[in-house]
């Protein structure tokens, strides 16, 4: 009902937004209002700290944050003349509701996606032939990330954040594992979405480029949830003035943008602080980044450490827990009673495991190179398709997904 109403409103207003800015303002207001009512009502009205999105039973329309942003972006692009209006309601629905990316992105822009929908009817089976195996391989990669890695890390992360770490090493381990859990979880979904879309002949933008290899906070946002970062850049940060003007103004714009990006994730102060924290980090890095760049690996180390620290806010149920967690991380009082033993071989294996997650991240960057794509295109035949399909089917059968839904389905 909500989705249909939104679709009808947005489709009808897409013919009007070019005529007057009032129509554009109205439809943006409608979209934001719907998002507000279904996602943030309790947060603003009751003033509560918000839901713990990782444990609470939340009821929000699936993927609402994503398609509302996509439709809003479309209306703005139309008003600015960056794309032409879609007159076919079915094609408009496909643009908004294209099933692979409906729930958690990538968020696509009309000027890139609409022409592909228009071309769908013209796609020939032959033209898809050499893209079958690469597309299936992307789906497989996404499933491996989600089921093999994210779901294996999830119970350990959940234990640490539910019981609270007792010592510094458990706290650091929790932050480290969550950083990779959320990466594997979300980028796994995105890879699957891109792979599935390619099976239909539609090319969606990649959403992740191994973010933990970033050497600056700015680079992190060019590698993490790229389509949301671009949406925020194009429709929020730049219209607010971007980096122009005195430093105080630029800082304020950055804080507002990142704070809102944090709030987009959910009705909880932890997300807002996470966003504001990123704003602060990006701003400070602008000032000191040039000095860090002269020291080998310093940029990466600082960025990676700050990322881990900020993830603590993101994953914590409330601000009090997050602050206590930081205290434990620094060797202070325990947050809870959960301690992972680092004694003897256990400690060695944990450290090796954590480092191998980072090495895997690096190895993944080698997968998206032209030689790999060429090998996949060359091997694209029924035998290898069968191998990959069998692996996909078995991976789908492996988990009980009810226990570990995709993290970004909550947003």
């Amino acid at each position: 009902m909500i989705v249909t109403t939104l679709l009808v409103f947005n489709f009808l207003f897409s013919f009007l937004v070019t005529k007057s800015k009032l129509y554009l303002a109205f439809i943006i207001l409608v979209n934001i209002l719907v998002l507000f009512i279904f996602k943030y009502e309790s947060f603003f009205i009751s003033g509560v700290a918000g839901y713990d999105l990782f444990t609470a039973d939340i009821i929000i329309p699936l993927g609402i944050s994503f398609y509302v942003f996509q439709m809003t972006g479309y209306q703005i692009d139309l008003a600015k003349g960056r794309c032409s209006v879609q007159r076919d309601p079915i094609r408009f629905v496909i643009f908004v509701m294209f099933f692979p990316q409906l729930i958690a992105g990538p968020i696509v822009r009309a000027q890139n996606f609409m022409p592909q929908i228009d071309n769908l009817a013209r796609i020939r089976k032959r033209s898809l032939k050499s893209t079958m195996l690469p597309s299936l391989a992307l789906i497989l990669l996404g499933l491996v990330k989600k089921i093999y890695f994210a779901d294996s890390l999830a119970p350990h992360v959940n234990d640490i954040f539910a019981r609270g770490p007792e010592d510094a090493q458990t706290a650091i381990l929790g932050a480290w594992l969550f950083a990779f859990q959320i990466y594997f979880d979300f980028s796994g979904y995105s890879d699957m979405a891109v792979g599935m879309a390619r099976l239909f002949g539609i090319r969606l933008p990649m959403n992740f480029f191994q973010p933990y290899l970033s050497r600056s906070p700015r680079e992190f946002w060019q590698r993490w949830h790229v389509t949301l970062s671009q949406w925020i850049l194009n429709y929020l940060y730049l219209p607010l003035g971007g980096n122009k003007g005195p430093w105080a103004r630029a800082f304020a714009v950055l804080l507002i943008t990142m704070g809102l990006a944090g709030l987009w994730h959910g009705a909880n102060w932890t997300f807002i602080i996470w966003g504001l924290g990123w704003g602060l980090v990006v701003f400070l890095y602008r000032q000191i980044g040039q000095y860090l760049a002269t020291i080998p690996l310093a940029g990466w180390l600082v960025t990676f450490s700050l990322t881990l620290g900020l993830w603590v806010f993101f994953r914590s149920p409330d601000l009090h827990f997050a602050l206590s967690y930081f205290q434990t991380m620094g060797g202070g009082a325990p947050t809870g009673d959960w301690a992972v033993s680092f004694n003897g071989w256990n400690g060695i294996f944990i450290i090796m495991g954590c480092l191998s997650l980072l090495i895997l991240h690096f190895a993944e960057s080698k997968l998206f190179r032209a030689p790999v794509a060429r090998i996949l295109a060359r091997r694209d035949g029924l035998f290898w398709q069968g191998v990959v399909i069998a692996l996909i089917l078995w991976l789908v059968l492996l988990p009980d997904l009810n226990g570990n839904p995709f993290i970004y389905f909550r947003f």
């Binding site: 234990d159 071989w345 029924l382 692996l391």
Partner: protein
């Protein structure tokens, strides 16, 4: 032939992919990778003529529910190492019977209270051998059937039975379509019913098709994945004992009454069953009633029940002892009103589920203590 080549190529690919997945799952079972990696949960249960279901002998594998542990079912179908029949001279053989709390699949054998109490007894110069006769979802009737057959065959010197108190206090006529239960016989007497033997599922699982299925489960991780993914119908090996357990607990009203003079026919049947082996000989028994703290409001009421059950059992058995397990556990814990829930659950699920490390340690201390006292009182 050329026409079928694409199909053949594709099917070969599917088979190669399947073999690859099987290999990956087996590779993940390498220590310590299995502690975190994606693995298949082993299938330990199979049909049993006496108890409806039980552990299949000589099985190894990983248990993943609640916690992860590598477990082994011995040649006689109990969790833990093999043992000699009859016992070695000078060895005190103790059989601990009960449900999944005794079974303790969630932790490694050396971490179970069974093995820990064995070590504690040996530490106190008692050469003991403690055997695990726990079976997930085992009711009073299932435990009695287990004592009559599996436990009797092991010739123990002492049986420790952990029994949920509502089973004895409520003692209602049950449903024997999935496993043994106390039912009304043809002349209204209470008998241990075995209707499950006529069930389609039981017969299928006990037949050739069942043998093929269990062979597959024993030799393929992917078969286990499929089995765990859709644990219904033919694949329903255990008739979901945990579900039955939950429904029994949910349906069981609070009851705090037991009188050895006015026992119901079902109560009498349970105690009669526990008092005799099939050959007419009698076991030495410690009956540990669990969950009395949730049934009764006061400790005095609980003590009265324990005394009454003891009176009823001592009329039947010369060597018997009855415990209020919750009370004994509480005395071992610090504080005026100790919270027993901390003994259960793993990680974020602390408070619910099976015994955790702390729980096993405390149960081991209590069990060791109970065995030592029993030996002193009944030499």
């Amino acid at each position: 032939m050329k026409r079928f080549r694409p199909l053949l190529l594709f099917c070969t690919g599917l088979i190669v992919g399947t073999i690859l997945m099987e290999g990956i799952l087996r590779m993940n079972e390498v220590w310590p990778l299995w502690k975190v990696a994606t693995v298949a949960q082993a299938s330990f249960y199979g049909p049993d003529w006496d108890t409806g279901y039980s552990h299949r002998p000589d099985r190894d594998g990983l248990w993943l529910t609640e916690n992860r542990a590598w477990r082994h079912v011995n040649k006689t179908g109990q969790l833990g190492p093999d043992y000699s029949i009859p016992p070695m001279p000078g060895t005190l053989r103790v059989a601990v019977v009960g449900d999944s709390i005794v079974e303790s699949l969630q932790v490694a054998d050396e971490d179970t209270f069974i093995r820990k109490s064995e070590h504690l007894l040996r530490h106190d110069k008692i050469h003991a051998e403690v055997l695990n006769f726990g079976l997930s979802g085992a009711s009073a009737a299932v435990s009695a059937a287990r004592i009559d057959h599996a436990v009797f065959s092991a010739s123990p010197d002492l049986i420790v039975l952990l029994l949920k108190s509502p089973e004895l206090l409520l003692a209602r006529v049950g449903d024997d379509s999935a496993f043994p239960a106390y039912i009304s016989g043809s002349s209204n007497e209470i008998v241990r019913g075995t209707e499950f033997r006529q069930g389609r599922g039981f017969q299928l699982r006990s037949g050739i098709l069942g043998s093929v299925l269990y062979w597959l489960l024993d030799h393929s991780r992917l078969a286990n994945i499929l089995n765990n993914r859709k644990n219904v119908g033919f694949f329903n090996e255990v008739s979901n004992p945990q579900n039955n357990e939950v429904s029994t607990a949910a349906a069981a009203p609070q009851t705090c009454a037991f009188n050895h003079k006015t026992m119901s026919p079902v109560q009498q049947a349970i105690l009669d069953d526990l008092s005799y082996y099939p050959d007419g000989s009698q076991p030495r028994l410690i009956l540990a009633l669990t969950g009395l703290s949730t049934q009764c409001d006061s400790l005095t009421e609980r003590q009265t029940i324990i005394e009454e059950v003891y009176k009823a059992l001592s009329k039947r058995l010369p060597d018997v002892s009855v415990l209020d397990l919750d009370a004994v556990l509480s005395t071992h814990m610090a504080g005026p009103e100790p919270d027993l829930s901390v003994l259960h659950g793993f990680g974020r699920n602390l408070g619910t589920g099976h015994l955790n490390k702390r729980g096993h340690n405390l149960y081991a201390a209590v069990l060791t203590d109970a065995i030592q006292r029993f030996i002193e009182q009944h030499p």
